[in-house]
């Protein structure tokens, strides 16, 4: 019998796609079948299509991503009767797992309604719920998840087996009858969960077991509670994330349409929003003009915010200082007991730690790629179709692994800093996990040039052990390539001028780079401009203590006296001797450290940053205030003087010193600095384009998380084509992608 075959590609498995097709077929009275196979979903129908192909794209379930719908003719041996969902076919079918997704409106209505899932904290369906965080192994079946110990009750099983139900094959399906339960634990004693409200309202701190780990929660409007949390966590200043319902968020922040959309994304990330309206205690995010907000994303959070407590809540990761988030109940009791007054616990295990993702709308950027955004693939640019399988092992900080296969890249989740033992274990788990998910067998291993990064060592050992090719990639070349790949820049698309402003990475010359203009492509690069190097006194110490960077810059500008008066407490003599004798004072062109230097001159945490990026973030906030007052036009910018490839910093600091002397507002000085950096690099990038050497400008490196700097650079570049990060982090979170594509490009040529 004549008919049609429809092949659907994309993220179409484990998202309720087959029941969706079943429903479309029922509506149209079509007969035939649908199945999952290694390529995606395959549909065969007898007779006419009746608009089925169009409906597939138009009405796809919320968590699906349809990349292609291909229709061809098909002949049935025997005419099908009715429409069937048939078992998966072929090896590799059902091997995909989608990211965890926030509670859908239908499930939320059930929680708030009167049905059997009223107030049930583990309500989910094929359109929402846990996925990657509960998965032990593939294929993605209930037995392979942390739902395995919970045997479905007859009512849940009926839903699970009914193709017309939105819980058809929803692996974590549960109800109060058969699923996990939630309780409050106070001093080792079990209490009803709703009592959590009283603890929060009494300025208490509660450890809340979420999707990818524990949070520490407290009433965000209660200054006393927030201060107590800071004290207990020994975290003096790093901003806390907040959770609230959308109406609550609007009371404290300015929320644009684009931002509402980000908040409501199934990934439910933390979205950075400008403070506006009512004020929360300053201690929530000292020195910041924006706050990180997220919506409740599990039924438990919804209950916590609306039924039991009252929003908004601080929701900061539950961990010991420096460690990653706690995920086990026993681990939480052991490690968090000193921080909290109660535990909001449940008995569904977390298989894999996933931090909250962090995003920003303007300019759009993913700052941390984690829960809800992984695992997912992204297509590689044209020219990489035949690339070998590559694994990129990232840097030392903000580690995330990247795999390349079949023209696709899988960039893993944010892991953190790899010297931390638990983070290292998570790295090893991710290494094995993603390889299994992607059925990955690399031929090439790509690592950073820095020999003492744990990931570099791991990659080199693996390459030696398995006989794989090892490619060492310069840190900032990897940043550039990551930005190009994210923007779909073709393999042979020509060279790009990369403004790579970063913390630091080892250069091939043995010095430490970080404020670079690179002219390059996937195959190679040349250094065409860089910040005048200065000694990093004390190596990594220079990152923690901004005054060190100010001291070397001021001294080099002949402003020793100013340095002495700005940092009277600092051990300047020893620091200067170390710099002069080259004792642990490697030369560096780091842009991040230049931010620290300027911040220190303005009195922003000069002696010590309490978290990475504090000085730079506070400097940005300061400069943004000046810009908000419309000051850029009058403010002007400082200038770096050019000396060959060097952007010399001495004249810049002399101008800054003159402003300080003249009593110019710190806001204005901060803005002038931002403008100087943006304009200094933009001008050189422009000339690379005008000379025909480069076809576009890429903005990358951790410093480009700075929205103001991004805007000022774009303004200075005018109408030149600009590549910037939007869906992947500008920082080391996407480094592995850059490493992997560079290694792939090298292998292509050989």
């Amino acid at each position: 019998m004549q008919g049609f075959e429809i092949r659907v590609r994309g993220q179409v498995q484990g998202v309720g796609f087959r029941p969706f097709i079943w429903r479309l077929a029922q509506e149209r009275g079509l007969s035939g079948h649908v199945l999952n196979d290694p390529e995606g979903v395959l549909i065969r129908v007898a007779g006419a299509l009746d608009g089925l192909a169009e409906a597939i794209s138009d009405e796809a379930p919320p968590l699906a991503r349809v990349d292609a719908v291909e229709v061809s003719e098909f002949v049935f041996d025997t005419a099908p009767e009715g429409f069937a969902i048939v078992a998966s076919q072929g090896a590799g079918a059902e091997t995909r797992v989608t990211p965890d997704a926030a509670t859908c409106p239908d499930c939320l209505a059930e929680i708030r309604g009167d049905g059997r899932r009223r107030h049930y904290a583990f309500t989910n369906c094929t359109h929402c719920g846990p996925r990657f965080t509960i998965l032990h192994a593939l294929p993605y079946d209930r037995a392979q998840t942390t739902m395995a110990p919970f045997e479905m009750c007859p009512a849940c099983r009926a839903e699970y087996e009914n193709p017309a139900d939105r819980r058809f094959h929803a692996q974590p399906i549960a109800c109060p009858e058969c699923g996990p339960r939630v309780w409050l634990e106070v001093d080792g004693e079990e209490r009803p969960a709703e009592e959590v409200g009283a603890v929060l309202q009494g300025a208490g701190i509660v450890a809340v077991k979420g999707l990818g780990g524990f949070h520490l929660a407290c009433d965000a409007t209660n200054a006393e509670a927030v201060a107590l949390l800071r004290e207990r966590k020994r975290r003096p200043a790093k901003p806390f994330a907040l959770m609230g319902e959308i109406e609550t968020i609007r009371r404290y922040a300015q929320v644009s349409e684009a931002e509402v959309e980000l908040l409501r994304d199934p990934a439910a990330p933390i979205v950075l929003l400008q403070k506006a309206g009512e004020a929360l205690p300053e201690a929530v995010a000292p020195g910041q003009d924006s706050l990180g907000w997220m919506l409740p994303y599990t039924p438990l959070h919804h209950l916590l915010l609306r039924e039991w407590g009252k929003g908004p809540l601080v929701m900061t990761s539950g961990n010991l200082s420096g460690e990653p988030q706690v995920i086990g109940n026993g681990e939480a009791r052991e490690k968090l007991a000193g921080f909290v007054d109660a535990f909001l616990m449940h008995d569904r295990d977390i298989a894999r730690r996933l931090d909250d993702s962090v995003v920003r709308a303007d300019p759009p950027m993913v700052l941390r790629r984690a829960r809800g955004q992984v695992p997912g693939t992204l297509p590689l640019p044209e020219g990489f179709e035949g690339a070998p399988q590559v694994v990129g092992y990232c840097g030392q900080m903000k580690a995330a692994i990247c795999l390349i296969k079949n023209g696709q890249a899988l960039l893993g989740h944010h892991l953190g800093e790899l010297d931390e033992a638990l983070t290292w274990e998570a790295f090893e788990q991710a290494d094995a996990d993603y390889a299994a998910l992607f059925d990955h067998r690399p031929e090439v291993v790509a690592v950073d040039l820095h020999p003492d990064f744990r990931a570099s060592r791991h990659g080199a050992e693996r390459a030696a052990r398995d006989g794989l090719r090892l490619v060492e990639v310069q840190h900032h070349h990897a940043h550039l390539a990551a930005c190009m790949a994210e923007n779909g820049w073709p393999l042979e698309g020509g060279k790009v001028a990369g403004i790579v402003l970063d913390g630091l990475g080892l250069g091939p010359d043995g010095t430490v780079w970080g404020g670079e203009l690179l002219l390059g492509d996937y195959h190679g690069f040349a250094r065409r401009g860089w910040l005048e190097p200065a000694p990093l006194i004390g190596g990594d110490r220079a990152q923690a203590e901004p005054w060190r960077n100010a001291l070397v810059r001021l001294d080099a500008a002949g402003l020793e006296g100013l340095a002495d008066s700005l940092f009277p407490e600092a051990p300047r003599d020893l620091a200067r001797q170390a710099a002069a004798k080259g004792i642990n004072a490697p030369l560096s062109s780091s842009a991040g450290r230049l931010f620290d230097a300027v911040a220190a001159c303005l009195g922003i945490c000069p002696m010590r940053q309490s978290y990475e990026g504090e000085a730079a973030m506070r400097l940005e906030a300061l400069a943004s205030r000046a810009l908000a007052h419309g000051e850029l036009a009058e403010a002007g910018a400082y200038a770096f003087s050019d000396a060959g490839d060097l952007l010399k910093t001495a004249p810049f600091f002399q101008a800054l010193a003159a402003d300080l002397e003249a009593g110019v507002a710190p806001e204005t000085i901060a803005l002038r600095f931002h403008a100087a950096l943006a304009q200094g690099f933009a001008r050189r990038a422009r000339s690379l384009i005008e000379s025909g050497d480069a076809k576009a400008v890429a903005l990358t490196g951790g410093v480009y998380q700075n929205a103001l700097l991004h805007r000022l650079t774009c303004a200075a570049l005018g109408d030149l084509p600009v590549l910037s990060h939007r869906t992947l982090p500008a920082n080391d979170g996407s480094l592995a992608l850059g490493q992997a594509v560079i290694a792939a490009a090298q292998s292509e040529r050989d």
């Binding site: 420096g322 033992a421 990093l536």
Partner: protein, 339 residues
């Protein structure tokens, strides 16, 4: 006195009288090797004990500056080789000493180095029984380089090897860490430190004998030289195929060294030592070993710093905040890593 020169010239390496005068006056008159043949002829009774084995090691010593607070190159050359023997469970007996001397080196400096060596050898209970000198032109070496080789005897029943360390064994260090590395850095950089730090350079042969007497089950020891405690523990963990966990709060550190490390951004775990070792003993013998160490001046600061563990194969440090950090071996110098 036949030797009138103030400085070493190439003639002192020429093989003639000038050379013989230098050797006799500066070296052999002080070391007094047995016999005048160009070899040491030694009694082998110690070896005749049943089960005893001969231990033999060599090392070259290069340090700038040659003299520093708490010692000089000669002291390091004796102590270093004695310690190499000692941590292997050997009782050190005899040393050789070979010198490469740059033209222009002050003879008085040589005399001071040799005097130190003789004193340290005597204190350590070893004899310097043979040696050699060479003079090289200016710039061909930096002042004086010293090579010592050492011979000792490992008594029957003693079997010290990193591979024997097993989960549960306790790691003991004999005193504060990094004094030598900090001293050399300060001396090299002419750093104006508010308080003086001295090198920890010391011979540890007697200390090891005492430890082995009360803790015969001791598994392995390492002297903490270049690369510091971090590198020694990594070597042991790798050889033993188990993990090692140390406590940040338990690390013996002098306030001055901590302060200097903070300013210079150095990690004391990686600083060099010349009179420190780590020894792994079974838990049951830990207290006795600790007491034996503390009874000696070079072990008065002995503490338990951690233990071997199962579950992972890394060296990890439990921080003051309660988290655990992996302590790796470094490829080269400490390079900044924070991006």
């Amino acid at each position: 006195m036949a030797l009138r020169d103030e400085r070493v010239t190439l003639a002192h390496g020429g093989g003639g009288k000038a050379m013989r005068d230098l050797i006799e006056e500066v070296f052999t008159s002080v070391f007094a090797p047995p016999g005048m043949e160009d070899q040491a002829r030694l009694q082998a009774e110690a070896l005749a004990e049943p089960g005893a084995r001969l231990a033999f090691t060599t090392d070259s010593y290069v340090v700038t500056p040659i003299e520093f607070p708490g010692g000089d190159i000669g002291k390091i050359a004796v102590c270093g080789t004695v310690n190499d023997l000692a941590v292997g469970g050997a009782t050190p007996l005899w040393l050789s000493a070979a010198f490469i001397i740059e033209e222009g080196t002050e003879i008085a400096l040589l005399r001071r180095i040799v005097a130190t060596m003789a004193r340290e050898a005597e204190a350590a209970g070893v004899k310097i029984v043979t040696g050699d000198t060479k003079v090289v032109g200016r710039g061909a070496c930096d002042g004086v380089f010293v090579t010592t080789a050492g011979v000792g005897v490992i008594p029957g029943g003693v079997e010290m090897a990193a591979g024997r360390v097993a989960p549960g064994d306790v790691a003991i260090v004999n005193g504060v860490l990094g004094d030598h590395g900090a001293t050399i850095l300060a001396a090299r950089g002419d750093l104006a430190l508010s308080s003086a730090i001295e090198s920890d350079c010391a011979a540890l042969g007697h200390l090891m004998v005492d430890v082995l007497t009360v803790a015969p089950g001791a598994k392995a020891a390492r002297d903490l030289t270049r690369g510091g405690l971090a590198s020694a523990l990594n070597e042991i963990a790798e050889a033993a195929g188990c993990g090692i966990e140390i406590e940040e709060d338990a690390l013996p550190l002098r306030t001055e060294v901590v302060g200097m490390c903070e300013i210079l951004g150095l990690d004391p775990l990686y600083l060099a030592n010349e009179g420190r070792l780590v020894v792994f003993v079974p838990e049951a013998e830990a207290e006795a070993a600790l007491a034996a160490m503390r009874a000696r001046p070079e072990g008065s600061g002995a503490v338990i710093v951690g233990r071997a563990v199962g579950g992972h194969k890394q060296v990890r440090m439990t921080t003051a905040f309660g988290g655990q950090r992996i302590v790796d071996m470094l490829v080269g110098e400490q390079l900044p890593r924070i991006c």
